[in-house]
């Protein structure tokens, strides 16, 4: 199927300003009107708290909220494991990828890690998949190991294998690098981790929005992603979690909804997934996420992936024509995230100049300082795409980038 980008662009109110070239979707995407309208409809017509409400409005809110849990389960092809209320036990709503990873680090890491246990991360992780592990390592005495990358920005799998041992308790790795665009061989990484008895977490913040993801096929224990990077609202994320592991863990936060019985002496926990969803959740946000998933599904994840691959190829070809450009990340399998530097022009000066031409890019370390250190740079400029970008966006960006060179050199 051919994607009709002109038609898709019409769905995004923020992109109706024809001057704007939005190339920062790895940071956050724009939202289609359908999502905004769905959230409005929830607040205007269905608003009530979820679970336990006896009246119709509350029941309707609960159906809307829980319906998205099933939708998410299908979207990432999670296995069907239902609780007594027929809710998927393995889909936990959080406030985002960061919260999802912190949940695992605190609950699993906090209860299971012992001194000298090892956690394997990669040098290309976002800070949100490094710092939670540093915090829990400091508490438990566990040690962190980092898999390095080659000069193209692909993971060094030989190095990974050399780090694996019976001390390895967890391997946590991003599916797609938010700096290099590298797509990591998750299935292989998971298999090798399993062979030494380690559990696995995948940061899917940059993958789920852009490609079909099948967590059953990948075989990981945890998979985390955010709503706001796939056209949904901010403040919502998903943790897909192996229920056999989660069942045994202590809760993350205490409060309403996560309990079974409470007495003055103590409490017992609700069944999964409620055990890990204390307090009133971001109901409208979750409903909006459901609408965003419907929107993407109507286009087709495979179509989105193929389209972005072509746009990435087009962009890389154009970028390579620019003298003195250095592109960080040339892995064989890559996504629509491109980081680059121009000789003698600082990333911030580039991004600021581009912003004057209404081209939105991002400059800095992209929350991946260890990776920047690895490549010996302080900052890069990054562009990233989504389904609403087309070659005219790229052409405008390239034209502006050529002006940057003229201006600064």
């Amino acid at each position: 199927m051919k994607i009709d980008v002109a038609k898709i662009k019409q769905d995004f109110p923020c992109l109706q300003n024809s001057e704007l070239t939005y190339l920062d979707s790895a940071s956050t995407t724009q939202r289609p009107l359908q999502v905004v309208e769905r959230i409005k409809r929830f607040y205007c017509e269905q608003n009530a708290n979820v679970h336990r409400a006896i009246y119709d409005l509350g029941a309707e809110a609960t159906v809307a909220y829980e319906g998205v849990r099933k939708k998410v389960k299908e979207f990432i092809n999670a296995p069907t494991v239902l609780n007594s209320e027929r809710m998927p036990k393995n889909i936990i709503f959080t406030s985002g990828t960061t919260a999802a990873i912190n949940l695992v680090a605190q609950c699993w890491g906090g209860s299971q890690l012992k001194p000298d246990d090892e956690i394997i991360l990669t040098i290309m992780e976002h800070h949100s998949n490094i710092v939670p592990w540093q915090l829990i390592a400091a508490k438990t005495g566990a040690k962190l190991k980092f898999v390095t990358v080659d000069s193209n920005g692909a993971l060094d799998l030989d190095h990974y294998r050399s780090l694996l041992s019976d001390k390895t308790k967890l391997v946590s790795c991003t599916h797609v690098s938010n700096v290099l665009g590298t797509v990591n061989p998750i299935k292989e990484i998971v298999q090798e981790a399993k062979a030494v008895g380690a559990i696995t977490l995948v940061d899917g913040a940059q993958s789920v929005p852009h490609m079909p993801v099948n967590v059953t096929d990948l075989g990981c224990d945890f998979y985390a992603f955010s709503s706001h990077k796939l056209g949904g609202p901010t403040g919502v994320g998903v943790l897909y979690a192996n229920p056999d592991i989660m069942q045994e863990l202590p809760p993350y936060m205490g409060g309403g909804d996560m309990i079974e019985f409470v007495t003055t002496e103590g409490a017992s926990w609700a069944e999964l997934p409620s055990k890990f969803e204390a307090g009133t959740p971001n109901i409208a946000g979750v409903v909006g996420l459901g609408e965003a998933i419907d929107y993407l599904t109507s286009i087709g994840m495979e179509n989105i992936h193929n389209y972005e691959q072509k746009l990435t190829e087009y962009t890389l070809e154009k970028l390579q024509e620019i003298p003195s450009i250095k592109i960080y990340g040339n892995a064989e399998k890559r996504a629509g995230v491109i980081s680059f530097a121009l000789e003698e022009v600082h990333a911030h000066d580039i991004a600021h100049f581009l912003s004057q031409k209404s081209v939105c890019t991002r400059a800095g370390h992209h929350c991946a300082q260890p990776l920047m250190n690895h490549f010996g740079v302080d900052s890069t400029t990054r562009i990233s795409f989504y389904i609403y970008n087309d070659t005219s966006d790229i052409d405008r960006f390239i034209e502006a980038l050529n002006e940057v060179r003229l201006f600064f050199t």
């Binding site: 600082h346 990333a347 600064f408």
Partner: protein, 150 residues
Amino acid sequence: MDEFKELYQEIIMDNNKYPKNFREIEECSCKVHGKNPMCGDNFTIYVKLEDEKIVDCSFQGAGCAISKASASMMTEFLQGKTIKEAEEVFDLFTGMIRGEIDATDHFDELGKLVAFSGLSQFPVRVKCATLAWNALHEAVTTGQEVVTTE
């Protein structure tokens, strides 16, 4: 775009390309790191004091054109100034780029530094221009050694 060009005027571009006092002072009175973690700007400011007077000031490090030019022009400006004078200019300079004071009212005190007045139009770049100044301010007031602007 005009405001952008005004910001990146020749004096700033020159100081970025050919920074003044871009060197270490081995026998300095204070040496402070100024960092901008979000951008990766990272400078070391060296100050040599004699009787409350800045007899030499220099810097080293890397950052965007605005931060580097600002550090360069600061070190040039402060040569021979007293700490009190430096602090007064620090207040004026930071006030100017935050748009809190009108640079034209303080042309005599600010001199070449008015080149940065255009920054008040670009709030996201304020931290670039203040990095070196904040580091210096912390150095002479608290003796703290690492200054972060975020």
